[in-house]
Amino acid sequence: MEFLTIIQVLDSTLRLSTPLLLACLAGLFSERAGIFDIGLEGKMLLAAMFSAAIAFASGNVWVGMLAGIGASLALSLVHGLASITFRGNQLISGVAINFLASGITVLVAQSWFGQGGRTPTLQGAARFEPVHLPGALTRIRDIADANPLMQVYSELISGHTIIVYISLLLVPLSWWVLFQTRFGLRLRAVGENPAAVDTAGISVVRLRYMSVLICGVLCGIAGAYLATALQAQFVKEMTAGRGFIALAALIFAKWKPWNALYACLLFGLLQAIAVRFQNIQIGEVTIPVQLMEALPYILTVVILAGFIGKAIPPRAGGEPYVKER
C-alpha cells in the first residue's frame, strides 16, 4: 500500500472520529455523574437538523451551531427532568429521546423545506471550511509530489475544520475538569456515592443537572459537526448509530477521557477503512465490510464481558437519588 494512501485513511479517520469523540466526552460527563445516557444519538440528530436548518437560514454556521446546541440542550433538560427530578428510568428516557429526535427532525425539516426530510445544501459561510495551517499544501497534486513529512503535515495535520481541533483540545480539558478541579471531584463523587456528596452539603440535583447540560452542549457540537462540517446538509437519520458507537467507545475507554480519545480513533479508523476499501483481501481470506461495521460493537461486548480487563461503570450510575427523609 502506498504511503499517501495510509495518510489519507488516517486523515479520514480523524474526521470520522470527531463526532464519536464529542459524543463520547458528552456521555463521559453524564455517566460520571451517575446519569446513564443512551440518548446521545437522539441529541446529536436533533442538533444536526437544527444547526443545518438555522445555518441555511442565517447564512452563518456559528449561529447554526448555537441553534443545534440549544436543541440538544432541550432534550438534555427532558432527560434531566425524567431521570433527576421525577426519578424515572434513565434508560427508558434515553430510548424515548432517540425516537423523539428521529421523528421530530423529519417532521420539522419536511415542514420547513419540503425536501423529504432533508435540508438544502449549505454553501460558503453557512458551513465549516477546512483550516489550512501555515505552509501546508492544499492541492492534491502538490501533496502527492511532496516529501513524506510534508504529506503528513499537509494531509493529516492540516486541512481539517476548526471543530476537529477543538474536539482534540477537549480531551485534555475534560481530563483537567474531571480530575483536577473541585467541580470534577464532586461530579465524580456524585456518580459513585451521591449520599456522601449530599452529606457534605452539596446539591446532588444541581450537580447532576450541570453534568447533563454539559453533555447536551457537547452532543450539540457533535451534531452540528455532522451536518455543517463533515457533510453540508442534514439528511434523515444521518447520525447512523454514531451515538451508540460513542457509547461503546465510552465503555471501551472505561469512562476515562484519554482512553476515550484512543477508543474513538480506533472506531473511527474502522469506519474509515470500511468506507475506503469495502471488502479487504488478505491472502486467501476476505474480510467482509460487514465485519468492519460490526467490529466496534463486538469489541465492546468482549470488553463488557470482562475478558480483556473489566469495565466497571460509576457505581451509582442509573439510579435516581432519593434524599433520606
Binding site: 434508560l91 421523528g103 448509530g241 457509547l247 460487514q290 460490526a294 465492546t300 461503570p313
Partner: protein, 366 residues
C-alpha cells in the same frame, strides 16, 4: 398501605399518559401547519373504517404483540431487553432457512417449522447478552443494543453473500415456495359475494400472536417458573435467599423474551414479504418497548396497546399518503408514549397519588 386503588394504577395512569402524548402530538401537527382534527379523522377512516384498513392495523398489531410480550417478559425479571429488533432479525433468518431449505407439504406444517426456528434463532440471539448479564454482570441493555447492530451486519452479510440469488441487485433471498405461503385474512374471510380485507397483509400469524398472549399469561401468573421470574424481578435478594438461581432466571427470562421477539418474523417474513429482506423488522422491536410500558406488562394490556399502535401505524401511513404530514409523526407519538408511561411515570403518578390520599382522608373525616 396502597396510595392508589389498583384500577387507577392499571387504567388511569396509562390513559392520562396517552392523553398527554395525544395533546403534545396535536400541538406538533398544529406547529407544522396542519389540522389535528382532520388528521385524526383521516387516521380513523383509513385504519378502522374499512376492512382493508383493519387488515393492515391487525398486521402491524401482530408484530407489536410479539415484541411487546418479549419486552414485558424481560421486564418481569427486571431486565430491559432493547434487543428485540436484532432478535427479530435473526428470527427472520430462521424463518427463511425453514421455508427455503425444507420441502413442506402444507402451510400448517411450514408454519410450525418456521415458528420453531424463528423462536430458536431469536432466543439464541438473546442468549449471549443474557449469559453475560447473569455470569459476568455486563449490563443487558448495552449488550442488547450492541447485538442489534451486530445482527444487522450478520444479516447483511448472509443476504449479500449467501442467500441472494446470483445476478440480483438488492440484498434479499428468493421467494419462498408456494406451499409455505400463509393464508391471509382475505383468503380466510372473503367470499366472492363479499370481498373482505382486500390485499391487506394480515394473516394467520395474528392467531399465533393471540396464543402467545395466553401463553405468557399462564407462564407468568400460573406456573412456578413465572412466579420465580416475578419474585426475582421484585427483589433479587429475596429470590436468591428463597433458593432461586439468579443465573437460571436471568437466562430463561431472556431466552423466552428473545423467542417471542423472533416469532415476530413469521408475520413479516413468511406472512407478508414471502422472502427475507434486510429491513423486515422496521423498528417493531423498539415499538415493543412502548407497547409493554403502555400495557403495564400484562398480556391483555399488551394486546390493547399493540392494537393501538397498529392503528397508529396504519393511520400514519394514510396521513403520509393524503396529507403533508410525514409518517414520522407516529415515531413522535411513540416517543411521547414511552416518555410519559416509562420515564416520566412519576410526573403523572405523584399528583394522582396525592389526589387519592386526599380523597381518602376526606372520607375518613366524615
Amino acid at each position: 398501605m396502597d396510595k392508589m386503588p389498583k384500577w387507577a394504577d392499571a387504567i388511569l395512569v396509562p390513559l392520562i399518559s396517552l392523553l398527554l402524548a395525544a395533546i403534545l402530538s396535536a400541538l406538533v401537527i398544529l406547529a407544522i401547519g396542519e389540522d389535528p382534527r382532520a388528521a385524526f379523522k383521516l387516521m380513523v377512516d383509513g385504519a378502522l373504517m374499512r376492512s382493508a384498513g383493519w387488515g393492515y392495523t391487525l398486521y402491524y398489531a401482530t408484530n407489536f404483540i410479539f415484541t411487546g410480550l418479549a419486552v414485558s417478559v424481560a421486564f418481569h425479571a427486571r431486565m430491559f431487553n432493547i434487543g428485540g429488533e436484532g432478535q427479530a432479525m435473526l428470527g427472520g433468518l430462521g424463518v427463511a432457512l425453514a421455508c427455503l431449505f425444507i420441502p413442506w407439504p402444507h402451510w400448517t406444517l411450514a408454519l410450525l417449522g418456521s415458528a420453531t426456528l424463528a423462536a430458536l434463532f431469536g432466543a439464541a440471539w438473546a442468549f449471549i447478552p443474557a449469559y453475560l448479564q447473569a455470569k459476568r454482570g455486563s449490563h443487558v441493555v448495552i449488550t442488547t443494543i450492541m447485538f442489534n447492530y451486530i445482527a444487522f451486519s450478520v444479516l447483511g452479510y448472509i443476504l449479500v453473500n449467501v442467500l441472494r440469488p446470483p445476478g440480483a441487485g438488492d440484498p434479499a433471498s428468493v421467494r419462498f415456495p408456494e406451499a409455505t405461503n400463509l393464508p391471509t385474512f382475505q383468503d380466510m374471510f372473503s367470499t366472492t359475494a363479499n370481498p373482505m380485507f382486500r390485499s391487506a397483509p394480515a394473516n394467520v400469524t395474528f392467531f399465533l400472536a393471540l396464543a402467545a398472549c395466553v401463553f405468557v399469561y399462564y407462564l407468568i401468573w400460573r406456573t412456578r417458573l413465572g412466579y420465580e421470574i416475578r419474585h426475582f424481578g421484585h427483589s433479587q435478594t429475596a429470590a436468591l435467599y428463597a433458593g432461586t438461581s439468579g443465573v437460571r432466571i436471568t437466562v430463561i427470562a431472556m431466552l423466552i423474551s428473545g423467542a417471542l421477539a423472533g416469532l415476530m418474523a413469521v408475520n413479516t417474513t413468511q406472512g407478508e414479504a414471502e422472502r427475507l429482506i434486510l429491513n423486515s423488522t422496521e423498528g417493531a422491536g423498539f415499538i415493543g418497548i412502548a407497547v409493554a410500558l403502555m400495557g403495564r406488562n400484562h398480556p391483555f394490556g399488551v394486546l390493547l396497546a399493540a392494537l393501538l399502535f397498529g392503528f397508529l401505524y396504519q393511520g400514519g401511513a394514510e396521513l403520509a399518503l393524503w396529507t403533508n404530514i410525514p409518517s414520522q409523526l407516529i415515531i413522535v407519538i411513540q416517543a411521547l408514549v414511552i416518555l410519559f408511561t416509562g420515564a416520566l411515570d412519576n410526573m403523572v403518578r405523584m399528583p394522582l397519588e396525592k389526589l387519592f390520599l386526599a380523597l381518602r382522608k376526606n372520607k375518613e373525616a366524615l
